[in-house]
Point group: D2
Chain length 104, copies 4
């Protein structure tokens, strides 16, 4: 993973307030991934595995959309207020992340 | 998960020949999910987390497409040869799984 | 567009029975595309244009899924019954089309 | 289509500067939609139609991503600078549009 521009100096990201909720959702996602591994290991019927993969993909998308919303609300709004080249950069970075989500 | 029609009597699913490769891919996917959990826990920058979620979503899609290809090659082809209502049912089941993938 | 393997000699594709319904759906899709062009021309608010683009994308996906289902039911089932290399080729072609849909 | 909050008083939307380019892209998209209608009318092979539908879906997604980028750069940044409830509303509206794109 290439490291991106870190917010200058702050420790707080947009998602920090909901951190526990995100961690719980990601714990469940890890469990779903482990469950799919087990299904293949136990020779579960393909279609049932595909159903679980679709469910996991949706769960991941929902986490991504929530993170992106938090990011727009906090980092992008703050950068827009500050103005200057950092604002443009934040928008570009957000647009690129949105494009990756839409295309993935 | 609702159990689907199991292939009558057979132990062998289409993907069984590549089982080790699928298990290895799903192990990596579990590791990616764990990595995203850790990134949130360590307050990693949102955009970097989104990049990893897109990568994980793509990895899952690729596993799903491979499973589906195996399923068409084996279960669907065999059902088509056997004919009768089971063939129709297998096609319907495959089409429904494809729709879930396209829409997820 | 690269021309693909045409079914040997037949005039009838899987979708032929529903041809009028497909044509009506695609007429509506053309109208939706024209409507989006007009919205940009009339300086409609971006978010409203995006809503219409999402609706059009969903309509296209639904047509694609219906065509694919017809294709599996007819061409792929017939090729599977006939067997031989053409069956394998049809499955590969269908899997590639599914992958393009999932990734687009 | 439900009308959304219009930017108060302005005639200029974010995309206005590139309007001609958007109109040209949407003209091509209309042509692609018409081409798909013609392909079904002429009983073209399903897989070739599916290829064209995937290409059209991608073209639409790219227009949507460009509009969204313009929207973030202009409407959202301006609303963020102005602050107040309108800023929150603009972010919510953008996040909802992103979710529709990701899920469509």
């Amino acid at each position: 993973m290439a490291a991106s521009t870190k917010p200058s100096g702050g420790t707080a990201h947009g998602y920090i307030s909901d951190k526990d909720r995100y961690l719980a959702r990601l714990k469940r996602i890890e469990g779903q991934a482990r469950g799919i591994h087990r299904m293949v290991d136990e020779d579960t019927y393909c279609i049932d595995i595909l159903t679980q993969i679709s469910a996991l993909t949706s769960a991941l998308e929902n986490v991504a959309l929530a993170l992106l919303d938090d990011h727009l609300k906090h980092c992008v709004v703050n950068a827009a207020k500050a103005g200057g080249p950092e604002a443009d950069e934040k928008i570009k970075e957000a647009s690129d992340a949105i494009a990756r989500l839409v295309k993935s």
